[in-house]
Symmetry: C2
Subunit: 365 residues, 2 copies
Amino acid sequence: MPGRSRSRSSGRLTLKDVARAAGVSTATVSNAYARPDQLSGDLRRRVLRIAEDLGYPGPDPLARHLSIGRTGTVAFVFSEDMPYAFSDSAVLALLRGVATECERKGISLMLLPVRAKAGPAAPRQPVMDVLASAAVDGLILYALSGYDDVVTAASRRQVPLVIIDQPRRTDIPVVRIDDFAAARDMARHVVRAGHRSVGIVSLRTRRDGYSGFMDPERRATIGESTAAQRLRGFYAAFDEAGIGPDTIPVWESWENTEHNGEQAARDMLARKKTRPTAILAMSDRLALGVMADAARRKLRIPHDLSVTGFDDIPQAAATGLTTIRQPFTEKGAAALRTLFDTTGRSTTLATELVQRTSLAHPQFR
Amino acid sequence: MPGRSRSRSSGRLTLKDVARAAGVSTATVSNAYARPDQLSGDLRRRVLRIAEDLGYPGPDPLARHLSIGRTGTVAFVFSEDMPYAFSDSAVLALLRGVATECERKGISLMLLPVRAKAGPAAPRQPVMDVLASAAVDGLILYALSGYDDVVTAASRRQVPLVIIDQPRRTDIPVVRIDDFAAARDMARHVVRAGHRSVGIVSLRTRRDGYSGFMDPERRATIGESTAAQRLRGFYAAFDEAGIGPDTIPVWESWENTEHNGEQAARDMLARKKTRPTAILAMSDRLALGVMADAARRKLRIPHDLSVTGFDDIPQAAATGLTTIRQPFTEKGAAALRTLFDTTGRSTTLATELVQRTSLAHPQFR
DNA sequence: CTGAAAGCGCTTACAG
DNA sequence: CTGAAAGCGCTTACAG
C-alpha cells in the first residue's frame, strides 16, 4: 500500500516498534523471542520487558509462518459434515488418536470437512477452496474413497499426505486395515455357523447418494472403495462355500447410520419366504439399525436372525454384537506418525473378530 | 537469504513462475485466482491453464494470509486434554454447535488444548506457545475459570475473543447460562420435595488438583468459577429453607468424570447416620457416578436416595436423572456468532429443569 | 554479541 | 483491462 505511513499504519504493534523503543534491530527482538542463545540474558530481558510494557503480543504468527515455511498445524480432512463427525463414535475414536498424538508432538489440529453431498460435481468448488486455503503442514485424508477430486486437490498442495481407510494408492502412504481379509473372516465365521441364506448391508460404494438394493450392474462395478473391499471379502468366503453372489441381496447405505440400517432390514426382512438367516453389516451402526428393526418385528437375535457388525464401537459390546474390532485410536496415531515419517511407508493394522451373542446357528427353515 | 537465486531457490513454484510463463504480471495471476472480475475471461482461462500445466498448486495460503491479514480459521481453546474432550458428550455437543456454525460460514476450526495439569504454574509455558503461535482470526475460550494466565495470553493476541461458561468479565463477551439461578432452582426443587439433609458434588473450584470434601476455609474462598456460581445458587435456596451451609457436605471433583462421582458418593454414603437423603451433582457425569455407587450399595433411587444432575446429556434421559438442561449446541453456535459480532454483547442462554425419576420425597429417617 | 538487509510469496491501490 | 511496485511482519545468513 504505497503512500501509507510506516508500520504503525495498521494500528498494530510490530517487531519494528519494539526494536525502535528498545534501540535495537528487529533481528535482536526476534531472537529475544525465538533464539535466546543469540543474545545476552540481560538484553533479552530488557527487550522482553519493553515489549510487554508496550503491549506487544509477540511475533505475529502469520508473518512467522511465511518466514519459516511451517505452521505447526495439520488438518484432518473428511467427507462428512461436522454434526455427523461429532456424533459417530468410530470417527471420534479416530480423532482421539490423531489428537493425542498431535498434543504429544505440540502440533495443532484443524478440522476440514468437505461436504459429502451426493453427485460427483456438487462439492467441487467449496472443497477446493477450503483445501487450497488451509495453512497446514500436512493433510490427513479420511475415508475419501470416491473423492478423487479431493485427493487430487490435496496432492497438489506441496505438503505431506496420509490416507486413512482407503484402498492403496502407490503415491500416497495409507493407514488402514485389511478390509478384504477381515470381511472374509467374518463371512467364513457366518458360514461355519451354518448359514446359507444371508444378506449384506453395505456402506456406500460410490458418491451418488443412492440407498437401496444393489442391482447386478451396480454390484459388478463397485470400484475400489472400502465398502468394495469388504464386499469382495464377503463374496470370497461365500464363494468358497458354494454360495454365489447372485443369491445374496446387498443393500447399500448412503449414510452410515442406524436409520439406514433399519431401512435395509425393513427391505430384507419384509417377506418371510426370502428372509435371510443372517445379515452381515459393514458397520456396527448399520448392524444396530438392523437389530432395531428386527426387534420391532419380534425377531429374536440370534434365534430368529443372526447379525454381525464391523468396527466394535462401545455400543456393540452393550448389545452383544459379534463384530470386527478395529484399532481406531491407534489408526489415528499411526496416521499422524506416518505424515511426518520420511520413509512414506504404508501401515496395515490388525483387526480381531469379536464373538458375542448376535451370531448363532440358524434355528429354523 | 541473500546470495540465493530467485524464487525457484526453494524448489517450489510461485505466482512469479506462473506470471513469467504466461508473460503477465503477478498481479494478473493473483487476480485470476481471487478476483475474476479484474481480468478478461480469456486471459483468466489462459493463465489458469498455464498454472495447471506447470503444476502450480495455487496461491500459497501462508503468504496469502499475511497479505490479507486473515486466515479464515478460529480456534476452540479448552483446558482439558484431547482424550477427555473427545469422550465427553457435553463438550462434543458444544463442539458440534461451534463446528456447524463454522461450516456454514466457511470458517475452519482449530482445536487448541491447553493442558489442565494441576498447579498454577505448571502449564504456563506450553500454553503461551500454542496460543501465541496459532494463526487464527478469533479465539473461543471454553471453561477457563481459574486459567487467568491463559485468558490473559489470549487477550494479548489482537483477535476477537469470546468466552464460554465462565463468569462475566467486563472486557470480553461471554456466552453462558445463569449458573446461579439454575442451581438455585434445582435446590429449591429438592427442598420442595422434602429434603433437609443434602450433599453436594461440586465441579472443580480452582486449579490445584484437589478432589475431596471442601473444608470451611475452602468453601469460603471459592472464587468466581462456574462451580462457585452453582454452589452459591445451591446455598441460596437452602438458606431460604433454613438449611445452613455448615450442615451441607460438599465434595469437590478435580475431574468431571463418573469416577469422581463415585468417589464422592463413597465418601458421602459411607456412614448411614450422616447419609444425606439427596445428592445434588453439578454435572450429569458426576451424578451418574453417584448413582453407580448407590447401586453398588443396594440403595434404590429415588426411594433410598435422590440424585440430581446438571447438563442433560443423553445418558441422563436413559437413566431417569432429574437435571438441568443446557443448550450446548446453541451455546457453541452463539459463541461463533458472538466472535464476529461487532457489538461485543454477551449472551445468557435459558436452561430448563427436566424432571425425571431420580428425585422424590425422602422415604425414611 | 549485534545489526543491516534480503527474502518468504502473496495482495492491492494506483497509474496508465 | 493490465502491470510495476510497495507492503504484509516476520526470520536468518552474513558481516562486523
